[in-house]
Each structure stands twice: as C-alpha cells, then as structure tokens.
C-alpha cells in the first residue's frame, strides 16, 4: 500500500496523456472539414444588416469571396468591392455558386451608417456582416488577417482602420483556398473562379 500515492499519480498522468492525445488527434477532425488535416477552415458567426446571425456553415456548397473592410474607407474598399461586383456580373449563371461577403472591421460605425445600403450599392449579391467586437476579432483571427484601429485626426470621427486588404477565397467545403492580393484585377479573379467551377 506504500505505492498507492505513486499509483494515483501514474493513473492521473496516464489519463491526462490519453486525453491530450485524443484532443490533439481528434479535435481537427471534429472541425467541419473532415478532409486533409492540414487544411484550414476560416469561420465566422456574425450578424447581417437585419440582425440575423450568419455563420460559415450555412454557405457550404458555395465558394466564398470574403473581404474585410470598413465603409468609411474611401479608396481601398470601394476598389476591391467594385472588382467583386464586376466578377459577380461576369460570372453570369455561375454567380449562384459564389457568395461574396463583406465583413466590417468597424462594426459599430458601419451599423450606424448602414451596411446593406453600402454593399448593395456595389452589388446586390454582396452580403455585409457586422458583429460585435469579439465576434469580429475571432472572425479575423480565423482568416489569419490583421486589423487595427488607428487614431487619426485627419479621418472621420478621429480614427481610421488599418487592415489586410486581400480578398479571400473559401471552397464549398469551407476550406481556405487562396487570397487575391489588393489590386488583383476582376478578370484575374474571374478566370481563377471559372477554373474551379
């Protein structure tokens, strides 16, 4: 019986090892991508302009073109959204296989200014999402993108947003496929999409 404390410790260690192993081994598989272990599946759960919660899972079966931005951005964001709009028009009947999504990184102000008015002015197919600060952070982290609020007296309301300006393509299975860097032309994005459809 003198070994009992040691036995307890060993049992705890063994149990912990099994638990850790299972977690490491099986956690990725319970992620909704049952495919390749190395694949990474960005995820978001964010409200649309009508307050409905939209999440990545509901878009399975469609390619997602995701852009993070803010509606008070006069130069970068309109340029990218215009390209997305052009791509959606040029896709013709294939457009239904692609869901363009604009995720606000400045959700409070964008909700106040009106998100749907903004996205629809570019293209009616673009879905605008604006969540809480936490939800936005978590969505950005899952896409591995950066954004930051910067104090700037020469910008509206005294601040501007620095952000990753890429456009991200997600597969119908929810996996990250690629990014189109800022400035990629609509024609290039279109031909990439058409090669996958």
């Amino acid at each position: 019986m003198r070994l009992r404390p040691l036995q307890i410790i060993l049992w705890i260690a063994a149990t912990a090892a099994v638990a850790t192993f299972s977690a490491v081994r099986w956690w990725p598989a319970t992620d909704d991508t049952a495919t390749a272990a190395a694949a990474f599946a960005p995820a978001f759960t964010l409200a649309d302009s009508e307050g409905r919660i939209r999440s990545t899972a509901e878009f399975r079966g469609k390619f997602l073109l995701v852009f993070f931005g803010f509606t008070s951005c006069p130069d970068v964001c309109p340029t990218t959204l215009s390209e997305v709009a052009q791509v959606m028009d040029d896709l013709g009947s294939d457009a239904e296989s692609v869901q363009p999504i604009f995720i606000s990184i400045d959700p409070e102000r964008d909700k106040r200014l009106g998100l749907a008015d903004y996205t629809k002015a570019f293209h009616p197919a673009i879905l605008g999402l604006a969540g809480s600060e936490e939800e936005t952070k978590s969505a950005a982290a899952s896409f591995k993108i950066f954004y930051e609020r910067e104090a700037d007296t020469s910008s509206p309301d005294g601040y501007t947003m620095a952000h990753s300006p890429g456009l991200y393509l997600i597969s119908p299975d929810g996996e990250w496929l690629r990014q189109f860097t800022y400035g990629t032309s609509a024609a290039e994005i279109l031909s990439d999409l058409q090669s996958r459809l």
């Binding site: 970068v76 709009a85 002015a121 501007t160 990753s164």
Partner: protein, 157 residues
C-alpha cells in the same frame, strides 16, 4: 434605336468629357479630376487628379479645398507587409519634369463632411494649393462606384 443609343452615349459621355478638361497654372497642368459616387453623405468621398510639372523646379500639392466638403484632406494608401493603411499626406511632391497621379490605391483626396451625397454625373469645384505655383480650381466630375477613371482620349491611366 440607333438614335436612342447615340443620345444615351452622348449623355453618358458629357460628365466624363468635363473630367477631361485641362487647367494650367505656371508650369503645372492639372487634368482628369474625378470622384466617385458616395453611399450617403456620412461617408467620405474621394478625389483623384493628375498633375504634370513641365517646368524645371519641383513643386508640391499642399492642400485641397472644396465647397462640397467641410474637411477635405490629402491621404495616401500605403500597403506595407500586407496591411493597408491610409496616412495623412502633408504634401504630395510634384517633381520637375514629372507627373503625379492621385489615383485608386495611392495618393487621394479624402472629402470628409460632405455637404451632400455625391451622385453620378454631379460635379463640384476643388481648389488645389501648390507650394510654389499657388492655387488653381478644377471641376471634378462624379463617376460611378465602379469607375477606374475618366474615359479621356489622352488619359494617362
């Protein structure tokens, strides 16, 4: 139908033609001034233009003013290490013998405090202040959200 198309083409090209006006001050030529539709007046508008310096001394654009916006400022879109930011530009150099474009993805005027939303086909004056050449006013035409610049025969973009 032909006449209708022709008329439509003429109407559509009228504002673009205005953006093709050229204004000169000293050795500077200012042309292709344009802006984009804004969604409401609460978001800033944008101002793009092309400046050519045919002289032998450097100049710089140091400010813009317009009745269309309470707080127009010069900014630059900078993409560094994959992050886009938009620092305030104190002045935009216009070196001797060169031309400078305020164009999507680079230098631009940001028109904050718009008096009214900018609609396609609208136009408004913008006064540019140069360090040496002084002030010059150009007419800015508002193009569609998807426009990449005015469609001028001699446009450099």
């Amino acid at each position: 139908m032909k006449h209708f198309l022709l008329a439509t083409a003429l109407v559509l090209s009228a504002p673009a033609a205005m953006a093709c006006e050229t204004v000169t001050i000293g050795d500077l030529t200012v042309e292709h001034a344009w802006s984009k539709v804004t969604i409401g007046a609460g978001r800033p508008g944008v101002f793009y233009v092309e400046i050519k310096n045919t002289g032998t001394s450097d100049d710089a654009l140091v400010g813009i003013a317009t009745p269309a916006a309470g707080m127009p400022m010069l900014h630059e879109t900078v993409v560094q290490d994959g992050i886009a930011s938009m620092p305030h530009a104190m002045s935009i150099p216009v070196p001797a013998g060169q031309s400078v474009q305020l164009a999507p993805g680079g230098y631009h005027g940001m028109l904050m405090g718009l008096t009214t939303a900018l609609k396609e086909g609208d136009s408004f004056p913008v006064t540019l202040s140069f360090e040496k050449a002084g002030e010059v006013t150009v007419n800015v035409v508002v193009l569609s959200l998807r426009a990449e610049g005015p469609d001028c025969a001699d446009a450099g973009q």
